[in-house]
Subunit: 431 residues, 2 copies
């Protein structure tokens, strides 16, 4: 694919020139039409004020209208979406977070992507139990009430499916960051350290691995080394303040910070301590990386440093025309905090530092912004994240050189959007 | 009211004794019954495993079931609630955040309390305009798209209604922290600094105050000093990542960090710059503090340091009986971060430091925990917050001594729950 380099003009907007000429001066009929007009002499009441709408001239709905609130009808397009041809059945499938509609770092619970292997388990928390067994001094069974008597902690973590961006290994496929990068969410969890529960049971010296097992019909299970289990894993029962959502493992899930989402077992019912991995389907047939020599990388748990521009993007074109323009996106790393995000508008030839805004937390999404004066030329937009360990997000070509073309999982390559003069964006590759 | 002091035993749980005797050992029929039982010899498969439920033996709902997710049916009781006798009409009324059902520091959008003065305005964002006029060089009108071209920031702020806990001035009235303290939420906002927009318009030297005006039928308006307007005020369009909810001002509201919620004008349609306050209804007849001498304190904007124990509390009794017990709650200050939270179990005679967990952010809720070994005696539970400015949350008696009994607003006094031997809690006062 061709590339038309576009030099960054290093535009720095002055304090009062963000939208010069683009805003409407107040006064008279100006309220109804955007695009210039003389400024009024200051003074009140302003003739335009009478033209500002009262949006409900009489009283609107009261506080009894929605005991549990929902979004505005004008936001009905902001939903998780699946890709029907991607899987045979919605029961064992994926939907995607609408990243291009979000800002900040928190993903609201109703928009967190879903990945199920046999549909959503419907669990009565009063009847649910979590067992710890295997190589422990005292096997234990916890009710939900038991779990809530252990010391809790609150942490914001991203969860990314190992298959996020998986379709993109073989070139630009899906036209929108919701689909290329939307197997991703970022939530504040409340829960108990798995370490605390394991210490209550007493791990025997021979215990080197744990099995985490879900209560859904797929019997989801994964092996996790004991070092990670005793480090930062969280047995979580709240997300963003309230109870876990059913599709996120209600009433209890495992959080494995920084590691692939498949290990964050939902509807968690059992932790078994053992002396070796269990070699389950999801860590042998699936969630391994087929290399060029025909062998497979296994146990590639950590999600490496990655970023994506969410706006503009194919689902979120620029509609304001040329002039002051904000590029924004998210960056994350399974190895800690994000140290820096760079943005290129010329397909990776030149890079500028983006501004990171909002809390910078380990193994959490970071929000970045890059502002420039768009002259309307076609651009190749890219972002590149660097984490606190010094890892730099690679190009897709560098990834393919290392791993070949057979991979599905762990694509953390740089994403390119081709921004056309009309403001539309397309998923492309440059090399 | 009587008080039965109860000395804190300074109980510090050892690493493996949180619930000794309270947990069920795994094995046989133990899964179905809590309350002791011999530990099994470790080993797999464990006989109890077969008794752990598959919660859907066949596949459950797929990823197409709910494009915008909702809570579990088992959480149907977790809702905002109003108090029908409190106001004449739900159109100009209040509902309350269920604080006792939440943890961490984020309030999910569907549970953020509502306060309306003429119901919810229903705004089409494509038609909505925000005007800046008055003592400015160039009056301006912004579309929503215009606003999104200015530099954004992401901040977590609490919003507390000035009337929160207002019924409690005259003694313990409402039986549950949802009702005594639930005019409170804590959200990550994305928006543009009001300062940036004011600089775009150019504030004239005579401009010392702003008027913030809403587009609802009540025409909500408040005067704000220019110093605050140019400091940290935010013109916000997202909450917890997604668009503002209709009842929170969709598509745009003002955030006035640390100051009373009534000033956070929703459905924001106009900012006027003036040389003196406007003396509107909501800052003269309402939201002032009637003092013992018959005069009223005015412009008491900042919300002072405050805290409340959310669990246990009247709506959330202790059901596990005596033994290791977690007390948790939230603390906040309009003057910055919380430095320390103390907990008393004897009505304020003795105080212990609580543990603050999760992000500590300025003008945001802080989550605290205090753990102790409850012997089943009746207790008087209190929390007391201290902020980074050194302000200490006062007793209700100290507040009344300073302000008399006629106030409605700005009650930040220490709350007492009387914990009975059966685990139930009541709203009481001690002195």
């Amino acid at each position: 694919m061709s590339k038309q380099p576009q030099k960054d003009k290093n535009f720095v907007p002055s304090r009062r020139s963000f939208l010069q000429g683009g805003l409407t001066a107040a006064g008279g009929a100006a309220v109804a039409a955007i695009g210039g007009g003389a400024a009024l002499a200051a003074g009140t009441p302003d003739p335009a004020i009478t033209e500002l709408k009262d949006w409900n001239q009489y009283s609107g709905p009261g506080v009894d209208a929605a005991p549990y609130g929902v979004p505005s009808p004008f936001e009905a397009h902001v939903v998780r979406r699946d890709v029907p041809w991607l899987t045979a059945d919605p029961i064992s499938s994926i939907n995607f977070t609408p990243l291009h509609e979000l800002d900040g770092i928190i993903t609201p619970n109703g928009l967190c992507f879903e990945r199920h292997h046999s549909g959503v388990a419907e669990v009565d928390p009063a009847e649910h139990r979590l067992m710890i067994n295997g190589l422990v001094d005292k096997p234990l069974v916890f009710t939900m009430q038991d779990l809530m008597r252990f010391p809790r902690e609150n942490r914001v973590y991203f969860l990314e499916c190992a298959a996020n961006s998986g379709m993109e290994w073989r070139g630009a496929q899906l036209n929108g960051c919701q689909f290329t990068h939307g197997m991703l969410h970022n939530v504040m969890y409340t829960g108990v350290r798995l370490r605390t529960l394991l210490e209550e049971a007493g791990v025997k010296p021979a215990g080197k691995w744990i099995l985490a097992e879900g209560a859904d019909a797929s019997g989801m299970g994964r092996s996790i080394p004991i070092e990670k289990a005793l480090d930062d894993c969280l047995v979580a029962f709240k997300m963003n303040g309230e109870a876990l959502r059913p599709e996120q493992g209600y009433p209890v899930r495992l959080c494995v910070p920084g590691w692939e989402g498949n290990m964050w077992v939902k509807w968690l019912r059992r932790i078994e301590v053992g002396d070796k991995p269990w070699q389950l389907r999801e860590e042998t047939s699936k969630y391994t990386d087929l290399m060029p020599d025909g062998r497979a990388r296994r146990f590639t748990w950590a999600m490496d440093v990655k970023s994506v521009i969410t706006n503009p993007s194919p689902q979120a074109p620029i509609t304001h025309g040329r002039g002051h323009t904000i590029i924004t996106g998210v960056a994350w790393s399974g190895h800690g905090k994000i140290k820096r995000v760079d943005v290129s508008i010329d397909g990776g030839r030149n890079w500028q530092h983006a501004r990171i805004d909002g809390p910078s937390l380990s193994r959490s999404l970071h929000r970045f912004y890059y502002e420039f004066n768009w002259d309307g030329s076609p651009l190749y937009l890219q972002s590149r994240a660097i984490d606190e360990q010094g890892y730099v997000q690679p190009t897709k070509d560098a990834l393919r050189a290392a791993r070949g073309d057979n991979s599905i999982y762990h694509n953390n390559g740089i994403q390119t959007w081709y921004l056309k003069s009309n403001g539309e964006a397309e998923n492309v590759e440059v090399s």
